[in-house]
Symmetry: D2
Subunit: 191 residues, 4 copies
């Protein structure tokens, strides 16, 4: 029985590495996978899934108008979605329906909350619908598990206002634990 | 280090039983707990946490205007919240902040999505912020894991429109797996 | 597809409560379950599964010579085993085979290690074979998660030698975290 | 608080990839890690941790006589152990004690059971002691989750007898689900 999986994590935890490993596991067994990433994420080029271990693969891309149910999954054993926090709530529902009405497992990798501590809408829907939720863990500079993010400016000063999505250099974001998030990392007050 | 926990499940899985067991575990060790449930849930009386195994305890109640950060947690080793899907998004944030700035573990029990398959806002926030997420499992009539709900009318016919919250007799809701949800349980078409 | 589940925990965490809740969930849906507990555990009478929340049910019993594959599971939707640390390694294999060749889900509840920090053989096999492993959490007196046990004598002094199994009053055992276990709880040296 | 982690999986699931990713996560934050693998595993050379994604790093090695408590962990933020099923039960205890008395997190990656369905002793101890257990999932050829292994000879015929450890070409082992394991994969009878 196909399911919807959500693998969530803070930034810089190795989500893309796990995605590429799972793709490799399927392919080693002679099964085909379909990879997707968000058009908006152009950090390493559009349509690239890039691991921190210096592995990269091409992927199809989705923007807000993309309809996952309108695609052909003939012969596909698994759909793998990177940067899933950029899915719309409608797309999250499409992927859930894809798993359960067309019997293709869908494994999504993404964040949960933004630099203000607010949920990404697509991620909130995936967390509400997925049959299988797991965390990919990484650590805060203090040694605790990182679950939140902070955004910093060019001088390393924490920024607390601004749009939810601002694709930029990875150094603009730090993954932090909740305690550091509230204490005001980067010499800032509690948000 | 205190954390925010979310224990999610479909209806009729035994969430309240686990909550009452954890309260008992703390109290057996001489530690005090604070119990809360939603004012709106009056199925067994207001301010009652009631297990399917016929155990019941009094609890404090919260409605949408309740401020969890304005309460006194002196001497409290753990805060336990039932029916947490009725929390507002602001209250979910308060409970996260409570755990991390005042160092009281907060364990919330609740649903994820409603009878239309849409997230409860408070639950979506808890899923996005909690450091520890676990599922309390139960089964669909078909034998698969139940993760969704359907609402039925007095004649057992499935209802697909209406307000998200409609407290009523437990027989008005069935916990189902996603496959049965989409196939249209109760002799209905796919929603 | 039926699976073997292991729900492990330290003592006094509420394992039997969860077992009885799952039995209730199945029965509410009109499905029959088969309950087993260890003959050797006579704390509340032989053949009784007793929850710390004062709920009790009768169960079939197994001793070391019991053969789970020789039983009839006609009409049984789920087999639930309490005190599963007392299973022999052979019985753990029988239960795994039962799930996969006769398609009956088997859910076992038990400890992992004894008061010397050594695995119970049956538990070690269940942990090695089960398709689904989950921890039922409880806390040490220090507030951390309890994962180990210590045995004390009538004066509350820690005992570090003796047979693995010594059924007795619950007050003879404390569930502790690993740090307290090694530091020598009960004013004792490191084991 | 440091903990002992066990990340278990069937063969060919990508354990080494995750280990190398975690090492990278720590090092990106300016923290040092200590890597170990089993001397006996010489598939890619002794003292090499090799990912299926073609990444390789040097590691220290352990054989049965190695004493983990006799090493110096000054300045080490995390100890990462590959092929942990080859640890002795004594070494598993050393690593648990290392985490809790010297406060170094220890993350072990390994199998659970061998081609006969019997636990690896070191793995059974890790599963019994670890504070944090997670499965790295991969699939059987039939599409279900793989949790067991079979060994085949040069002609692809299943072998059911022989020593537990027989390091060889990866093609000598297949990761399978329990149902295929008992049904007798590779045209064989039920074991």
């Amino acid at each position: 029985m196909a399911k919807l999986f959500y693998r969530y994590a803070a930034m810089n935890s190795g989500k893309s590495t796990q995605l590429l490993q799972i793709a490799n596991n399927y392919e080693t067994m002679g099964k085909a996978v379909q990879l997707y990433t968000a058009t908006i994420d152009d950090r390493y080029g559009v349509g690239k899934i890039t691991s921190r271990l210096n592995i990269q693969r091409d992927a199809l891309t989705y923007d807000d108008s993309f309809d996952f149910l309108a695609q052909d999954y003939q012969g596909i054993a698994c759909v793998l979605i990177d940067e899933a926090q950029f899915l719309t709530s409608e797309q999250a529902q499409q992927l859930h329906r894809l798993a359960h009405t067309r019997h293709v497992p869908v494994i999504c990798f993404g964040l949960r909350s933004d630099f203000k501590g607010e949920p990404f809408p697509g991620a909130a829907w995936l967390l509400s619908l997925a049959e299988d939720i797991e965390e990919i863990k990484t650590i805060c500079a203090c040694g605790r598990k990182a679950t939140m993010h902070i955004r910093v400016d060019g001088q390393g000063q924490r920024i607390k206002e601004g749009p939810q999505v601002d694709i930029g250099d990875d150094t603009r974001y730090h993954a932090v634990c909740a305690k550091c998030f509230y204490q005001g990392h980067a010499r800032e007050d509690t948000p």
